[in-house]
Amino acid sequence: MFDTALSWNDMIFLAQGAGMTLMVTAVAVLAGTVMGIVFGVLRYQLGTWWSLPLTFVLDIFRSVPLLIQLVLGNAFQAIARLGWEPFTTSCVILSLYTAAYCTEIVRGGIEAVPPTTRRAARSLGLTWWGDMRYIVAPLATRVSLPAWIGLTLGVLKDSALVLWLGLIELLRASQILVTRLQEPLFILMICGAIYFLLSFPIARLGGYLEKRWSPHD
């Protein structure tokens, strides 16, 4: 239907790139969310003053452009002789970057749970942990979900920057094909469509969960 030099093998090449994008994103979002929950609870529990050092470090990860973080991170791991693969370095940096944003989302979610509700939970004999698990976690999750979905979609796209460390993810794969086939518009359209296909289920999952939870409040 289209007059193109793009072959099946090239499509498989793109799919492998998409696989790399998905892999890096999954690791970063998973690890970043776990760290974000721990840091977010810490920040909330410690209060502004005691969590200052943590806040400061996380602010660095939020304010320095990701590209610079990746390049510097890669240089540091080389200097420190950690011997990390580009994939490892990419995942570590992207996870920290995700964690920095996730921390704020989690803290905001916890703060949105009314203190009176938590006091009621504690007065029923629930422990701090019980209150966190059965009251705060579900309520904060509902509040934080849209922001967390936004973060995940952002990381999916930002993960393209790991191509600077030599990883062949979706965007890099497209670039390679563009250089070889000289069909930039067509290939970038396909690349964009694949990004959309990756993002769409995540966005829909968010919408679905929001709807499912909405009759509860």
Binding site: P114, T116, T117, R119, A120, A121, R122, S123, L124, G125, L126, T127, G130, Y134, I135, P138, L139, R142, W213, P215, H216, D217
Partner: protein
């Protein structure tokens, strides 16, 4: 028995409780009245250890609430409290709200917790709202759910902090009826309230708080009929 001995409590430089002495016998209904900021809510939250105290002692059946070794989570099973603000757990159905603490704190099996929850909810007149989320309840129903939630832990004492203050006038009656019912059943209760008629009717004794001091306490007849202190006389004439 609840024994409160010379309890003092400050928030920063503001002394909210200035040496409170009070005891409540098993089966007694004590109502507490007093102006805004006189320390009524603070006293209730001190009794179940939600707030620390600066000095004095509070004993629950002989256990000192604020002593270092006291397991507050355990102690709180004995003391139910219902607050002015409705604080249903919005992500749980009415039934789940009431079952949560028996399941997670008392580790009751599901069937047992559910039977207890249904019983208490029916008791407060919410037997037909079990599967509903709290957002679908009126304020009066939410407060009655909160009462059932506390009762499901089989507490020996119930503390009520102005549970009708945030309600529309037409919903106050149903909640007060629930409290009356508990009083009749012999529950030991401390009720902070602005409802004078209710206080006169259900109380064994009424206490008047004024600026962090318990200015007067006595049986309702003499308390309302022949108030001794000028502060109480003034308070009663202002609220009537």
């Amino acid at each position: 028995m609840i024994e409160i001995q010379n309890v003092r409590k400050s928030f920063g430089t503001l002394e909210v409780l200035k040496g409170i002495d009070l005891f409540v016998q098993k089966g007694e209904v004590l109502t507490v009245i007093g102006g805004s900021g006189s320390g009524k809510s603070t006293l209730l939250t001190c009794i179940n250890g939600l707030e620390p105290i600066d000095s004095g002692r509070i004993l629950l059946d002989g256990t000192e609430v604020h002593a270092k070794g006291t397991d507050l989570n355990r102690l709180r099973r004995k003391v139910g409290i219902v607050f002015q603000q409705w604080n249903a757990f919005p992500h749980l159905t009415v039934l789940e709200n009431v079952m949560l603490a028996p399941r997670k704190v008392l580790k009751q099996p599901k069937a047992e917790a559910e039977a207890m929850a249904v019983k208490q909810l029916t008791h407060v007149g919410l037997g037909d709202k079990l599967r509903v989320y709290p957002s679908r309840l009126s304020g009066g129903q939410q407060q009655r759910m909160a009462i059932a939630r506390a009762l499901a832990m089989s507490p020996e004492y119930m503390l009520f902090d102005e549970v009708t203050s945030a309600l529309d006038p037409q919903l106050v009656g149903e909640v007060l009826d629930t409290l009356r019912m508990l009083a009749r059943e012999g529950m030991t209760m401390i009720c902070v309230t602005h409802e004078m008629k209710f206080a006169r009717e259900v109380s064994d004794r009424v206490a008047f708080f004024h600026k962090g001091v318990m200015a007067e306490i006595g049986p309702p007849d003499t308390f309302f009929g022949a108030p001794r202190t000028a502060e109480l006389q003034q308070f009663l004439s202002a609220t009537h």
